[in-house]
Subunit: 453 residues, 2 copies
């Protein structure tokens, strides 16, 4: 069965708003087994709304529309639909009472234009709004079911789940299944290269890629005679994908990288401290985005100025003078200082040149040193990251979180899929001291896995 998404609002056609509703609905309808053939956005114009609805209804079993249900004069959806299917508008008393009570609770009276939120095309099925004011509705036109929901994402999503899914779920063909894997540390071309043969080996399986910088999501899509067969086939192929990509796969669809890192710390009862320079708080913001992160994150010292590195983390002024803020020595001392000050089990540090200014021949923009300190000693790693300031910062935050995850799990800090261009073991580590660098200081390693960032 096919479906279409119709988005209503001049703010969309003028590009004042990115249409995330359409993507959300496309994903939901696809998951329900529909082939989504088209998304259309039109402005607040009754004629255009009607024309789009008529056309989409002719070619599809289900149309889900959003927008134009509010109280202002440019909210024209109910009127346009009534005209399109040739009926009058009529007031729904229960909806009127719902809106009146909501208004009263805010000390407002329901009057004037706002009343029309309770008017629907005759014969329409009302879709209740559990989280907001304007109800939605559904109509049938020559075998096509069309639903009209508000444009506010939270309202639209709740109403779709509660009012639309039960009505259309039986129409979708449940002959497909998707498994999503999230990964970090491999460039997209290498991912594609490693997975080259999977589609040929698993019948009915197609792979899709989606970059959420700096992550990549691999979608394993299987189609088979039944939903159960498709699911089994998708799972088998996903296992093969996991085996081919190794440690780069950190979780599935609903895992954030920070939540996976947090879980690794929590599982092993390890506490963490962070010392940031060029990432400026990004690592802390990612970690603390996860509820309960106070269980393992003790401190994030964003020591942007050299004086702060010295005063807060105890990085020697002689170290900063001799090697500079962006150096193996400073990164190691920052990690050790953060661990000491916070009294944590482990600490990671980031110091680098995010640009656009500040680069030198020796330390070009994108040069980032990482340090990780734990009972096992201190290790520092240098990466050469590509892209603009925002991308360098984001990727550096991920590399730092990956380091924390690896050390918490007792893995080799330098064994991650994102290759460092230099590595030094410092302090009392079991690995012994020594530096291992690929290429000269200051030269990016093109094989370093970051060039497609």
């Amino acid at each position: 069965m096919t479906a279409a998404v119709l988005s209503i609002g001049t703010e969309l056609t003028r590009g004042e708003l990115v249409n995330s509703n359409a993507a959300w609905l496309g994903e939901q309808l696809t998951a329900l087994g529909f082939e989504v053939r088209e998304h259309v956005s039109v402005g607040d114009d009754a004629e255009q709304i009607g024309a789009a609805l008529r056309r989409l209804c002719e070619g599809n079993a289900v149309v889900v529309a959003t927008g134009g249900l509010g109280p202002t004069s440019d909210d024209l959806t109910a009127e346009a639909v009534a005209r399109c299917i040739g009926v009058a508008l009529s007031r729904d008393d229960a909806s009127y009472e719902h809106i009146r009570r909501l208004y009263a609770s805010r000390g407002r009276e329901l009057a004037g234009l706002s009343e029309k939120m309770a008017d629907f095309p005759e014969g329409a099925t009302i879709v209740a709004n559990p989280v907001g004011t304007a109800p939605g509705f559904g109509v049938e036109k020559a075998g096509c079911r069309a639903f009209f929901l508000p444009g506010v994402p939270a309202e639209m999503q709740a109403m779709f789940r509660e009012g639309v899914v039960p009505a259309v779920a039986s129409l979708g063909q449940r002959d497909s299944h998707q498994v999503h894997l999230r990964l970090f540390g491999l460039p997209e071309s290498q991912v594609g290269e490693r997975l080259r043969d999977v589609e040929g080996q698993y019948e009915g399986v197609t792979l899709g890629y989606r970059a959420h910088f700096p992550e990549i999501e691999v979608k394993v899509h299987a189609r088979a005679a039944s939903g159960a067969e498709a699911e089994a086939q998708a799972r088998k192929a996903a296992d093969a994908v996991r085996a081919l990509l190794g440690e780069a796969v950190f979780g599935d669809r609903d895992d954030s990288f920070a939540s996976v890192v947090g879980q690794a710390l929590r599982d092993r009862k390890k506490t963490l401290a962070v010392a940031e320079s060029c990432t400026g708080g990004l690592v802390g913001a990612m970690l603390t985005d996860v509820p309960g992160s106070s269980d393992y994150l003790l401190l994030d010292a964003v020591t942007y100025a050299n004086s702060a590195k010295t005063k807060v983390l105890g990085v020697g002024q002689d170290v900063l003078r001799a090697y500079g803020a962006v150096s193996s020595e400073t990164a190691g001392a920052m990690a050790e200082g953060a661990r000491r000050v916070a009294g944590s089990d482990l600490a990671v540090a980031i110091t680098g040149v995010a640009g656009p200014g500040g680069g030198t021949d020796d330390k070009p923009v994108g040069t980032v040193w990482f340090g990780v300190a734990s009972d096992a000693g201190t290790v520092t790693l240098r990466h050469h990251l590509h892209g603009d300031r925002a991308r360098i910062r984001q990727r550096a935050a991920y590399v730092a979180l990956d380091l924390a995850r690896r050390v918490a799990a007792g893995l080799d800090p330098a064994g991650g899929p994102a290759a460092a261009t230099c590595q030094e073991v410092r302090g009392n580590g079991a690995h012994g001291n020594g530096a291992h660098c690929n290429g000269a200081h200051g030269n990016g390693d093109p094989a370093g896995g970051d060039s497609e960032g």
Copy 2:
């Protein structure tokens, strides 16, 4: 003149990708004076691409399409367009050479499917790709000009600017002008209330609102007989809007809140330290997103654990025991500690309950204390912020930045548009000591300006 946007790709119809390209093109075409009537997204299907193109070309002077120009088997745009306008595909030698050289620079050979990136409908105008591999093209069909660009945003945008704008700019009607103002601290309903009479007072002016949580953007759109008249009228109305909204307006379209705060610090040669708890690094991440922020930001201490508040910032264990981490006393001590440790001119601190856990009757989720320390003494403010964890954290970060901006500019810290529910002046301030709270501790103030967050 009217225009339409066509987006090609099954990843769009399936909702795997939010269609930000369409919004960008809608905005650009609107700015060029076109009325953008419709956005359409279709999957990678030559028949659907052709049908959509035919229909959009019939009703519009310009169609801009993106996607489907790459090297893989599902990239069908050129083929679909050729079939739609009834011509054959033919190879463009200059494009072939461009692609061959790019491939060679990456050590790859141009062969197989990739070669088709140099094939275009006969008679098409090539649109060069200055930043990537696949060139685009333009065709004319019965007076409609259609352009086909890659889906990669950076490539699409550069090619639109360099290859499409010069060809279509003369078609747009330059009879309108927009001014964008960005604001923070007023709920949307209050903004609407204050600006209620503007549209009536300025002929041809319409106002639009766009929420980028927790900011609001007000768009002043003017239409007049000429572009110059429209611009003058938009500027007059924008001045009126600025006067009505006061300090809540922090900048225009291209200003980020953090850049405005940074400029306020830079202008007055002030340095800043930050102490974060519940925001977990967000304030630092926002500030350091601005190049050159190391000129004024010395330190951001994300002291998530109480022990870190004590060790790094010197917050007394007795203070934490007696008043708790979320208190006026702790917020004040954090700000003073951060200022002392960093040696900065001023410091702001944030400590609160972001949820979903951790709330109590006394300090429910959303209770956030802010502290600001400077030569003028220390002031603390309590806010009750609404929404989920992410929203509480984001709004708290903005309130803290606003505090820094106000104190740097010598303004009353509590005079911001986002009303605090409690305020205490501590230490050696000129305002004298004392607490001023609205409502009992722990009760949100519904008039506090945050309820529509």
